[in-house]
């Protein structure tokens, strides 16, 4: 159908152009930039593998990677447990069901910048709400964001708080899919609540759990606004994130080639980690 072909091509043309300029070109150029040294003002200079080598030995970069893994080690289990618990609590006929759901989901729609600013104030050592409550009940205040040992965990807790509503919805959707007859069958077969959870509910939610882990991991690696606003990467670079480093290299140091290299490295790391995660969880399913 010639007319259809023509219309289709015409209608898809703007998008195709867009893809070429804003998708294909940047991806390719990113790979090119890895081998360049450029400050946007002078002409780019060929740098061979310098950027890559520098990155491999860059303490700040690897510190950021380590920070991210620390973040994930707290954020992932916390996220799964909290989201799953809330979803289980919500998965029944309840009064005000949509209100609870909306309350949990509220932080998800609020801008990350606002949440970061809000929690900076909540965590503030002297005037923050959290320490205020702690003191009230007789505990010592904690320097949440200024103590190198508590800073990243504090951010991890905050990010969990922000996103948990999202994963509650995902788990709720998964829970709806468990056939009623399976739930009744396992009850008749003699399962206690715990046994029902362990043998039916949890295994049935495996796809959702994989999704939670994958999305939270990707999110964790892309952390930017939180450290940027709350700690600037400190204290002692303990909350420095990879994207923050990328941004600094581009915006502050004007090192485009190096920043691009960080970007590529990040993409590779994310890809690798997600791939391994899926393999591991896939194996757990087979067991």
């Amino acid at each position: 159908m010639r007319a259809e072909q023509r219309s289709g091509t015409l209608m898809a043309a703007p998008y195709t152009a867009f893809l070429l300029v804003f998708a294909l070109y940047p991806i390719l150029f990113a790979l090119v930039l890895v081998f360049l040294r450029w400050d946007l003002v002078t002409t780019p200079a060929f740098a061979g593998f310098d950027n890559v080598q520098l990155l491999a030995h860059d303490g700040r970069f690897w510190r950021a990677v380590a920070n991210t893994f620390l973040f994930l080690s707290i954020h992932l289990p916390l996220q799964i447990v909290t989201a799953l618990s809330l979803a289980l609590a919500l998965n029944r006929p309840l009064a005000f069901r949509s209100f609870w759901r909306a309350a949990f989901f509220l932080p998800v729609v609020i801008s990350g910048a606002v949440v970061a600013i809000l929690w900076s104030n909540l965590y503030a050592t002297d005037v923050g709400l959290i320490n205020g409550v702690l003191v009230r009940i007789g505990l010592r205040p904690v320097s949440w964001l200024t103590d190198p040992n508590t800073a990243m965990p504090a951010i991890a807790a905050m990010v969990t708080w922000k996103n948990v509503g999202f994963y509650v919805i995902i788990y709720l959707a998964g829970l709806q899919y468990i056939p009623r007859s399976c739930k009744e069958a396992i009850e008749i077969e003699g399962a206690t609540s715990w046994q029902r959870f362990r043998y039916l509910t949890l295994p049935s939610l495996l796809p959702q759990t994989i999704l939670v882990v994958t999305l939270s991991t990707i999110n964790g690696f892309q952390l930017f606004i939180e450290p940027y606003v709350m700690t600037g990467g400190g204290p002692l670079r303990r909350t420095y994130s990879i994207v923050l480093y990328l941004y600094t290299n581009a915006f502050a140091y004007q090192k485009m080639g190096y920043a691009a290299t960080i970007g590529v490295a990040l993409a590779l790391i994310i890809g690798g980690v997600v791939f391994i995660q899926r393999r591991v969880i896939g194996k757990a399913e087979a067991v």
């Binding site: 007859s181 009744e184 069958a185 003699g190 399913e285």
Partner: protein, 367 residues
């Protein structure tokens, strides 16, 4: 020996009564069928027995034990669901053994029982597969195996064959019946299909609107239905009904309706024969059809005149649809020579197999 007792069991949802004062004693080892249309309450009764629905009033006992308020897992019953309810993420073997694993039964015993059930249901080659790799009939058998393996006091079946196609249904009916006879476990079986009920049940409970219409052996329901509902529900094709009057004639009783006049001289119950308005019920298979040569006066003994509207040849049996006056009736015959559409026929009714209903109740005949 396990038997099940329902005592004044009532179930209400808000202001709607779904099951009304249900009383039943299920004998040990029998296969009892609860049959009825949708809304009859049959599934609710089963689920109350299972513990999946709360009982509003009344008691349920399994043997001497009052289980009315016990959760399902403490009742020692097993259930086969309409959509099988197999655990999708487990293999067949794991599905079969879960109940036993939950109760911490010894591994050797679990294996023994699983093997035994798998053999009986021909599931051996399927043990490592997952439910979605099985056909409907295979899933059905796994569901039954899962119930068997627990050696419960009572089997509960909730319309297990509804999701299967007709051929498979017939086959599975036989298997279930055979299985139950071998295992001798008390079984309560719910279905809307009266053929299933008639072929499987030791006894049948016919339900409508939450109330028992009749309890009895299949043959009793067939021969002596207590009311119009049961009479029309049991038997395929369904019974013919004609509203008319009983009057006296020639020293005996005769039934007359428009276009139909039927002498019941050879019926021997003059005292209890009702007079006045009745409904006549006669099963298609209790009618014999002769093709008329001339036009007789139509009051030959027990014969009804009719004109053929449709003839369905089903092989051994044929269904002849005919009009007698304003009434459309159906006769099921095994004649070799069949009338054509438009032919005049004389249909003889076996007066011993004819039923009379006053209001809804059947007035019992000699037999």
């Amino acid at each position: 020996m396990p038997s099940v007792h329902f005592e004044h069991v009532t179930k209400r949802f808000g202001s709607t009564t779904v099951v009304d004062d249900f009383n039943l004693d299920v004998e040990d080892g029998e296969l009892l069928v609860l049959v009825g249309g949708s809304g009859s309450g049959k599934t609710t009764i089963l689920r109350m027995l299972a513990g999946l629905e709360e009982v509003t009033e009344g008691r349920i006992r399994i043997d001497e034990r009052d289980v009315t308020h016990l959760p399902p897992r403490e009742r020692d019953v097993a259930m086969v669901f309409q959509d099988y309810g197999l655990y999708p993420h487990m293999t067949v073997r794991e599905n079969l053994s879960l109940g036993l694993r939950l109760r911490k039964v010894a591994r050797t015993e679990i294996d023994r029982r699983v093997t035994w059930a798998a053999e009986m249901l021909r599931l051996e080659p399927l043990l490592t597969r997952k439910p979605k790799q099985l056909s409907g009939g295979q899933q059905q058998r796994v569901a039954m195996g899962r119930a068997m393996v627990r050696e419960p006091l009572v089997f509960l079946f909730d319309e297990p064959l509804s999701n299967l196609d007709a051929g498979l249904r017939a086959q599975m009916r036989i298997e279930i019946g055979g299985l139950q006879r071998r295992l001798k476990t008390t079984t309560v079986y719910v279905t809307h299909d009266q053929v299933e009920a008639m072929t499987l049940g030791d006894r049948i409970v016919v339900l409508a609107d939450g109330r028992i219409q009749q309890i009895g052996r299949p043959i009793d329901l067939y021969r002596a239905p207590l009311n119009r509902f049961v009479a029309g529900f049991v038997g395929t094709p369904p019974m013919n009904f004609v509203d008319g009057l009983i009057g006296s004639e020639n020293g005996g009783a005769a039934f007359s309706a428009e276009g139909i006049h039927f002498d019941m001289l050879d019926r021997r119950m003059p005292e209890t024969m009702p007079t006045g308005p009745v409904t006549l019920g006669v099963r298609p298979e209790d009618m014999e059809v002769d093709v008329c040569e001339a036009s007789p006066d139509g009051s030959a003994n027990g014969a009804v005149r009719g004109r053929v509207v449709l003839v369905e040849r089903l092989g051994g049996t044929s269904h002849i649809h005919f009009d007698a006056g304003p009434h459309r009736l159906l006769a099921a015959v095994t004649n070799e020579r069949l009338p054509e559409v438009g032919d005049a026929i004389a249909v003889r009714l076996n007066s011993e197999r004819v039923h009379l209903f006053v209001g809804d109740q059947r007035v019992s005949s000699v037999n």
